[in-house]
Symmetry: C2
Subunit: 253 residues, 2 copies
């Protein structure tokens, strides 16, 4: 049984608490939560601490707080020479105070409170500074996910940028689709099967094979009709740039 | 039993042939295919015609050809005053030669040959010029889908633009994620659970509730780090514009 503590009470922390509670491989020793209520439903109250000085020695201490707070929080950890990992996609491993052994435990997923996710299929990307620590992180990760990767800091940075494109930006395009529907008395539900199928297609086809639409076909007539139709400047700019990008991509191939 | 013929042998035509063959509500009378081989596996050869003059009278003739070809094809239909519907999201109902009764039978989905889709959940958007024709199209549509909508031409135009955003443009963002992964020796598979979850989230949350990421958090530090990281001008421009759009959207709310 690996002993783990979590610092944090936000989205990622809450999901990790839930997952660790499900597996017998992990003993969740303590959770540091500034906001006790946010984790009160997830763990017995005697394990919740509100002062970092109360942190006990464990096998891994996971810092699951906002990116900006990681360094400051790691400075306040009361012990030394222990394995401490953060969960961020974009923060360097060195942000963790070097008085402890640094690690990264980055679950590549979009977390929203109250929305359950399947952790077994969520890739967890690990970094550590020695093989022993990597092994420990691997055991922790494998206890909750079937997809565990060892990547370096450069790759993690790339992955985080890629994730912004395929998740955050994609969701914003859903938002634009939603807005266009609402303006025209159409239910956003109409677009949902298309959204699902678009995401499903790339499970078996490459994005290049899966690409359809007027830009792919270089169908200038439809593209111009759409640009004339759009009155929102922002939507029009996005339409132009994404269309150009699809056409340029076709030329590269 | 409603008698239907299909003009066309592309993606949409092939999927419709397959669906109509599955239901006993529809008798698929003829398929006009310039390229006989493309439909030879889907329908008995005596039903395939290569000359539009051979078209028989049926309850609905569906034109499932490229947008550019719809008008010309409808001109060549040898009969008059029959119900003829096209399957395009972006072409006006009037593109169909008015010697016949015009209709639209628009399945809102992304079709790729060799990729099966669930037609039962695919919305079919209908237009017709009288109630009787609308009823006929509804019966045809309901025989293959549980989601049948009557919308007007303006709404269809809007829906098609929205579909470009949530499908074609989304897939292009998958392509960019794929490219960033490959450049960094990472498997695109790493992003697939995130892509699935992003699409799943909007089944239960609005896109606004589902939005996460640095732009949503106005996390300038991460945004700037990502912009510094990106060397591809096109990706950088898209990153900037989409980030601005997410931030502006936050201000509206």
């Amino acid at each position: 049984m690996i002993r783990v503590s979590i610092i944090g009470s936000g989205n990622v922390a809450q999901h990790l608490i839930q997952e660790f509670s499900k597996t017998t491989d992990i003993e969740l020793v303590q959770v540091f939560a500034r906001n006790q209520e946010s984790v009160a439903q997830l763990i017995s109250v005697d394990k919740i601490i509100v002062n970092l000085n109360e942190l006990k020695l464990v096998d891994v201490t996971i810092i699951a707080v906002t990116d900006e707070a990681i360094a400051a929080v790691s400075n306040q950890i009361p012990f030394e020479n222990q394995l401490v990992a953060h969960t961020s996609g974009s923060i360097a491993i060195e942000a963790i105070n070097s008085k402890n052994r640094q690690g990264v435990f980055y679950p590549l997923q979009t977390f929203t409170k109250s929305k359950e996710i399947n952790f077994k299929t969520t890739p967890i990307c690990l970094e550590a500074q020695n093989d022993n620590d990597l092994k420990t992180l691997q055991m922790v990760a494998k206890s909750i996910s079937n997809v565990v990767f060892h990547i370096n800091s450069e790759q993690r940075k790339a992955l985080h940028v890629a994730a912004v494109f395929v998740c955050n930006f994609v969701n914003h395009l859903y938002q634009i689709g939603n807005d266009i529907c609402i303006e025209n008395d159409l239910s956003f539900d109409l677009l949902k099967p298309l959204i699902q199928e678009t995401a499903n297609k790339i499970l078996t086809l490459s994005p290049n094979e899966a690409q359809t639409g007027p830009a792919k076909r270089k169908d200038t007539q439809t593209i111009n009709a759409h640009l004339n139709y759009l009155t929102n400047d922002n939507q029009k700019e996005l339409y132009k740039l994404l269309t150009k990008s699809i056409i340029d991509n076709g030329k590269k191939l």
